[in-house]
Amino acid sequence: MNTAVPNASLPSTAGVRSALPNMVDDIGQTPLLRLDRVAADLPETVAVYAKAEHLNPSGSVKDRPARRMIQEGRESGAFRRDQTLIDATSGNTGIAYAMIGAAKGLDVTLALPENASAERKKVLRAYGAELLLTDPMAGTDGAQRRVKEIVEAHPNRYFYPDQYNNDANWRAHYDGTGTEILEQTDGRVSHFVTGLGTTGTFMGVTRRLKEHDPAVQCVGVEPATAMHGLEGLKHMDTALVPGIYDPSVADAHRTYDTETAIDMTRRLAQAEGLLVGPSAGANVAAALDVARSLEAGVVVTILCDTGTRYLSDDFWNDE
């Protein structure tokens, strides 16, 4: 027998004011961390800080542009309720789309090379995304071409954010990441160093920091070779160059080989307790090299994604 519950004792659902409606509202406002142990050789007048973007809800910096591109698509009418979001990505942007899509009830289809890791595909499928697997020999550029073909064949069925050519990508970093860096350093940032992939982070943060102070020096980091193992970064001489990239805003470029980046990735885990991916290792290696060239300065870089995404890679325990 069911017993009637008196109304007076029902808990109110209206009182939980500090709760977020979903994970999407927790994107951004990441901590800025001072790196001490890996930067122990620097003089006291030089500091290196890292923006902990791996602490975003889906585990990477890509939550910011993914949310912004979806928001702007909705507001402009480019992304209708009956459409499916489609994009090409082997990694973090896809996971961000899939997470946001799940939280907001949106359909998401992603093209990625067939040799992306099993755990990555499982994460995407766990969020409910549909996957199109493309030829490994063509890399992520091949996945991009596949998406373009599908969208051209069925223009009404899909919303294609196209992170490489969408200004919402860099604007997410102009308004978010860049502004947070200024606040968190009390405007004292003198150098910004980050890897170039879609170039959204670099373009957005650089524009925001230079608007604050044109003397801030901004350094783009690239893989040293066309073949590399730095997820998310592009070797601009041989890759499809993103439409949002304007090389003239960079003050300098630095190149790193995968092995150097991975050495730093291991050191960050073991000496700083930061389990992050190889592109973050490249960024920190570059930030430290920039810092070593200074007599005084505040150098800021980006920890792009979580290291748990790379556990099936063999590099963690090698020396």
Partner: protein, 106 residues
Amino acid sequence: MPTTDTTTVTVRIPTPLRSATDGQSTVEVDANTVDDALRTLTDRYPDLADNLYNENDDLRQFVNIYVGDEDVRFGDGPETALEPNDEISIVPSIAGGCFHRWRVNA
């Protein structure tokens, strides 16, 4: 019966490296092992060398070489012997995917 003691094989070049091979997507070389084939390839297209080999002249860790469907890492590595008409693929690394098996699209 073969009249020479070397074997002709095809090397498939991934998109990111084709600027180093004059745009060629496949290159035929005469070689008995994977190492022979890749050295012959880099002799012919020297811009490939930095992409495939580190400063100690070892194959870079993230460079994935397949003979047919088999990752040579799980076989005899660079010493893997070649048969006539074998197809070698140099496969771009997708982080998190380097050590997983997949089938080469025909």
